[in-house]
């Protein structure tokens, strides 16, 4: 009994550790005082001002667009590669998947710098496109990671059966293989989206002077002080993701229950 209680306490402490800064940020988003170290009373002002702050809204737009596009392209590229790898001989397979994993295993700073060097060397203007390309690149391994195991589980003979029944290869793929690996593709996409959204280091080196993502904007503000609108925005983002995840979880738990009843 004592053991069980102390275990619960331990789990609770770790969760508090992980969520304490989030709580601080949420509190700061309602702080009337502009200084982050003083409590000046409760206000909704920052939420109102957030929607008038062009700079932040622009950065948000850029961040979301890059996350969406990079996740989309990385999912397409990663999935085609995963399918090709599935039928490859050992050596080329090992070589290609190792290369794909480099951005995931290497230091972010090195990945960011290396791409910056490339873009500058070929005179590619640093900006939205360069950040997008960099994000696509480091997102590919996450897609590969989610899709490859699903592909290994799919039954190749159903695909062959479809061909045998007269289906064209592409049609057979979309009818037979695609539904099987779709959960993997989806989770790869979501993972890529999250990674892109949370990235700072690689955007920092590849963004040039004009483009700001939320992360790079926050970083430039760290010295002079973060605009409280930023706290409001991140609180809104966090809460909406939280609600979304709770809904998904609730629905899948519900579906699970129904399955067991049947």
């Amino acid at each position: 009994m004592v053991k069980r209680i102390s275990q619960r306490i331990y789990i609770a402490l770790i969760i508090i550790f992980l969520y304490a800064p989030i709580l601080v940020l949420i509190v700061l988003s309602f702080n009337k005082s502009k200084s982050r170290s003083k409590w000046g009373g409760f206000t909704f002002d920052w939420y109102k001002r957030l929607f008038q702050n062009e700079n932040i809204l622009n950065a948000l737009y850029t961040t979301l667009l890059i996350a969406l596009l990079s996740a989309l392209f990385a999912t397409i590229l990663g999935t085609t590669l995963a399918i090709a790898l599935n039928h490859m001989r050992r050596l080329p397979k090992a070589v290609l998947s190792s290369i794909a994993n480099i951005p995931m295993l290497n230091a972010e700073i090195v990945t960011g710098i290396s791409m910056m060097l490339l873009f500058i060397a070929i005179d590619f203007k640093l900006g939205f496109s360069s950040v997008l390309i960099a994000h696509i690149t480091f997102n590919i391994p996450y897609v590969l990671l989610s899709v490859a195991p699903k592909l290994r589980q799919t039954n190749h003979s159903t695909y062959e059966a479809a061909l045998d029944l007269g289906a064209k290869p592409l049609y057979a793929f979309f009818k037979v293989i695609f539904p099987d690996i779709f959960p993997g593709i989806l989770s790869g996409f979501l993972m890529a989206f999250t990674m892109s959204l949370d990235d700072f280091v690689i955007s920092h080196f590849t963004r040039g002077a004009e483009v700001q993502t939320l992360s790079t904007k926050i970083y430039t503000e760290t010295r002079k002080g973060i605009k409280p609108e930023m706290y409001a925005l991140s609180t809104l983002m966090f809460v909406s993701v939280l609600i979304l995840l709770i809904l998904i979880n609730h629905r899948s738990a519900h579906a699970e229950k129904e399955k067991t009843i049947k």
Partner: protein
């Protein structure tokens, strides 16, 4: 028949082509650029080892040494925190482990710079932690702008990447395998050291690389929580590029850093599918 096989291979190669070309263009070539800049002189582009030797410079050497020290400490702290947690979470026998993944991934949805900044509020000399300590009439702590603050920041940011792979491998151990060990006469401790721990090593290894590499190479955490007082190798490299505009020396130092990353991976026995994120989702 043979013809068909070749045709299939050709089709497959065609399928692999777009992504492979992309990876050559944006992974391989950029890395070669680092190698090129790292091994050439800034002035005339001639071959040199000067940029690599920069690591021996006292400031850089100290930065690398401190980075290694802090990242090793944070990795160890993460293992020590995460392993018991993994065991406890396994013991809870929650049916959907997606819930547990969720709890530990969710903080990632708040910008990590902001979360790290929030630690300033907590750790500052007049921050939340010290206010609490004062009300409890306990001695206050001076943490901010010290290596301790940076370790804390590293542990905070990367702990989920240690928890999830460890929990995932522990959770997958069949209850009957543990029962079998008990059945064959092993007591609790023997079962842990002979069965549970060995079976969870892949998760621990995956966690170690996922914590160690980003800790070793970070410049953001040290920038925010260390003030300008603590210089890590990541900060040195970043300054070479962003402030001094010296790509050659920055690349040289990056090459040295990559050697350390490769060494650490060889050390923990990195295999194909245990990379960052591998066991996370």
């Amino acid at each position: 028949m043979r013809n068909k096989e070749t045709k299939r291979r050709q089709k497959n190669a065609l399928l692999a082509a777009p992504c492979s070309l992309w990876m050559i263009a944006f992974i391989i070539i950029p890395l070669l650029m680092i190698v090129y800049y790292g091994l050439t002189k800034r002035e005339d582009g001639s071959l040199t080892l000067e940029n690599l030797k920069l690591i021996a410079d006292p400031i850089n050497r100290r930065a690398l040494w401190l980075s290694l020290k802090l990242s090793i400490i944070s990795t160890i702290v993460c293992v020590l925190l995460a392993y018991p947690l993994g065991l406890m979470l396994r013991g809870l026998k929650i049916k959907s482990n997606s819930f547990i993944v969720l709890v530990f991934m969710l903080p990632m949805w708040m910008n990590f710079l902001l979360r790290t900044l929030a630690w300033l509020n907590i750790l500052e000399n007049n921050g939340i932690l010290n206010t609490i300590l004062k009300t409890l009439r306990l001695p206050t702590l001076h943490i901010i702008n010290t290596p301790t603050a940076i370790i804390l920041g590293m542990v905070y940011n990367f702990l989920p990447f240690m928890i999830l792979p460890i929990y995932n491998t522990l959770e997958k151990i069949d209850e009957n395998v543990i029962n079998a060990a008990r059945d064959l006469g092993a007591n609790g401790l023997q079962t842990f050291f002979k069965i549970i721990f060995p079976l969870s090593i892949p998760g621990v290894i995956s966690g170690i690389t996922m914590v160690f590499v980003p800790s070793l190479t970070t410049f953001v955490i040290s920038n925010i929580l260390g003030g300008s007082k603590v210089l890590l190798i990541g900060n040195v490299i970043e300054q070479q590029f962003q402030k001094l505009n010296n790509w050659n020396s920055g690349s040289g130092l990056s090459l040295v850093l990559m050697v350390f990353i490769l060494l650490s991976m060889a050390f923990v026995g990195q295999d194909e599918n245990t990379g960052r994120g591998a066991a996370t989702w």
